[in-house]
């Protein structure tokens, strides 16, 4: 194993690996940060026909390199869009079933892919009040999800303090029984690997390791017991062209520091 440090940051690795999860022709509802960047990267690489929706009310944008928006609600999000519409209406398109993939970041996640972006500690007396759901709850409730996040033990926990955006709730059929007919967690992409969810238990399952990461590394950075796929694979490292396009999009490393 080589000891050379890779010439990309953890955030860049996550952006490249999650961009590869997107397919040309898909309709993707993307949150701000790495999801927006990775979806834009996918458009510039292998998925020029990727349609990106933003909750600010945008359909089919192509974000301009070097002009990343500070949220998904500013005019930068509308660059070369096909349509702008009300934020309620773009979320209703999601509810109506026009979206293939919801793509978000996460602060805290549990084995069933439930995400917390609201409270650390007791919601009545939180030790940390986080910014909240935004459209996260709607997106996670209504479509297949890809979550991109840093892999740290404090973020991958046995139980999230608060379920802001539902994954598979308590696993099995619990999501459907709660009334969530559509969607569910599809992939979690971190700087250590790529994860899916085991079909019947709906628990998180390691599916691919990034170069020079071991399954033990992943488990020791995870606060719950991971399932490991029988056909565990290793991802190809980010290519020069992937990194070049990514850095062209985010030259100031606004999202990929």
């Amino acid at each position: 194993m080589t000891t050379d440090a890779p010439d990309y940051t953890a955030s860049e690795l996550i952006a490249v690996m999650s961009a590869r999860q997107l397919r040309d022709g898909q309709v993707v509802f993307a949150g701000v940060g790495i999801p927006l960047l990775a979806a834009t990267l996918a458009q510039r690489l292998h998925a020029p026909g990727l349609t990106i929706l933003f909750e600010g009310g945008v359909i089919g944008a192509f974000i301009e390199p070097g002009k990343l928006p500070p949220s998904t609600n500013e005019q930068r999000c509308t660059h070369r869009a096909n349509m702008v519409l009300g934020s309620t209406d773009v979320l209703l398109l999601l509810q109506r079933g026009y979206v293939d993939i919801g793509f978000m970041g996460g602060a805290q996640i549990d084995p069933y892919g439930n995400l917390n972006s609201s409270f650390i500690g007791d919601p009545q007396h939180p030790s940390t009040r986080l910014p909240g759901t935004g459209g996260g709850n709607d997106i996670a409730s209504l479509t297949e999800m890809i979550v991109a996040m840093k892999h740290e033990k404090r973020r991958f926990v046995e139980r999230v303090d608060f379920v802001t955006s539902p994954g598979f709730l308590s696993g099995g059929n619990s999501r459907r029984e709660a009334g969530l007919i559509a969607g569910g967690m599809h992939r979690v992409v971190t700087d250590l690997g790529i994860f899916g969810f085991e079909e019947s238990s709906k628990r998180m399952q390691l599916q691919a390791l990034h170069p020079s990461v071991t399954a033990d590394d992943v488990q020791s950075n995870t606060g719950f017991e991971l399932l490991i796929a029988a056909d565990l694979t290793v991802t190809a490292p980010p290519t020069e062209s992937e990194l070049a396009v990514l850095r062209h999009l985010d030259p100031d490393r606004l999202y990929t520091a």
Partner: protein, 315 residues
């Protein structure tokens, strides 16, 4: 507000084509302490900052505010005591500046309330209000903990399909504060770019105060009535406020004043309590007029924001 009362109040108002132009201070004086206020725009976009600025300066207290997504204006509303209760889906200055220190401080010490609804739920609450119905159903929030914090919701089995649904109640705020690119003296408002929830908010609210980058003639409105998004019959007052969203953006006219917002964020990181007090003193309480406030933001930054803002039409 009760539906019958809301209708009665709307009909009792003079809904003829009449001049509604007033000053920023006069507009702030219309809004009493303790009322509910819907805020237009979203995050850093078309925030009715001039009106919020005037309300804070007027010493307004305990407004219950509602907005789809809340940015630095929410921090200033909390820190000035103008609001201690915000309903919104997301609250921080913006993701690139991290979690809001001021929001955290006020919530974690129990000095203010951040009532969290999903973004779509906020939108459907305004839409129900605009439709004149008491609630609307949606398919999100179920199974999550978000709904457990919201007593004003219900879950039902659909009478037609048996499917589970969440019902969210109509939101008909006492006031809507909305900033637009242009409107006439009667309140016919034309909005460019992202409309967010503003049309629903305007129709839902009891009383609507518009601020506008510029007041145009009614003839100009009638030349492009398809561009009119808020009808004059729903509007109570019109205030001309150039750069009325600064330091936030107004689509097609100016982008956010990023240098100002970076400096603001750095000041809040260093010391949320004193930092925000100093910011309010300098930018909110000391200027004698909105123009003087813009002067403090600085011509160089405003010109830069304008250049970036109008460049959207370069393609």
């Amino acid at each position: 507000m009760d539906y019958a009362e809301l209708c009665r109040r709307s009909r009792a108002r003079d809904r003829s084509l009449r001049d509604k132009v007033i000053s920023l201070d006069e507009a702030a004086a219309l809004v009493p302490d303790g009322v509910s206020v819907g805020i237009g725009g979203s995050t850093l976009s078309r925030t009715p900052m001039a009106l919020i600025w005037a309300l804070i300066r007027a010493g307004r207290k305990n407004l219950v505010c509602a907005r789809g997504i809340t940015s630095s204006e929410g921090e200033l509303l909390f820190a000035s005591g103008t609001s201690r209760h915000l309903m919104t889906s997301w609250f921080s200055q913006g993701i690139v500046w991290g979690v809001s220190r001021i929001m955290r401080r006020y919530i974690e010490t129990g000095r203010a309330r951040f009532e969290e609804w999903s973004h779509m739920a906020m939108g459907l609450r305004f839409r129900a209000g605009a439709m004149g119905v008491p609630f609307l159903p949606l398919r999100s929030m179920m199974g999550s903990d978000v709904i457990t914090q919201l007593p004003d919701t219900a879950q039902i089995d659909c009478p037609f399909t048996g499917q589970k649904l969440v019902l969210v109640p109509a939101l008909n705020p006492d006031f809507a504060l909305i900033h637009v690119q242009r409107c006439d003296a009667y309140g016919n408002a034309q909005i460019d770019g992202l409309p967010f929830m503003d049309v629903d908010l305007a129709i839902a609210a009891d009383r609507v105060i518009l601020t506008t980058e510029r007041i145009v003639s009614n003839d100009q409105i009638r030349r492009a009535p398809d561009q009119t998004k808020i009808p004059f019959i729903a509007v109570e007052a019109v205030v001309e406020a150039p750069f009325g969203s600064a330091p936030h953006e107004c689509y097609g006219l100016y982008e956010p004043l990023f240098a100002h917002l970076d400096a603001y964020a750095a000041q809040m990181r260093k010391d949320p309590e004193d930092g925000v007090r100093a910011y309010l003193a300098r930018y909110f309480y000391s200027p004698k007029s909105w123009t003087e406030y813009l002067d403090l933001l600085g011509l160089a930054e405003l010109i830069d924001a304008r250049r970036r803002g109008t460049s959207i039409y370069d393609d």
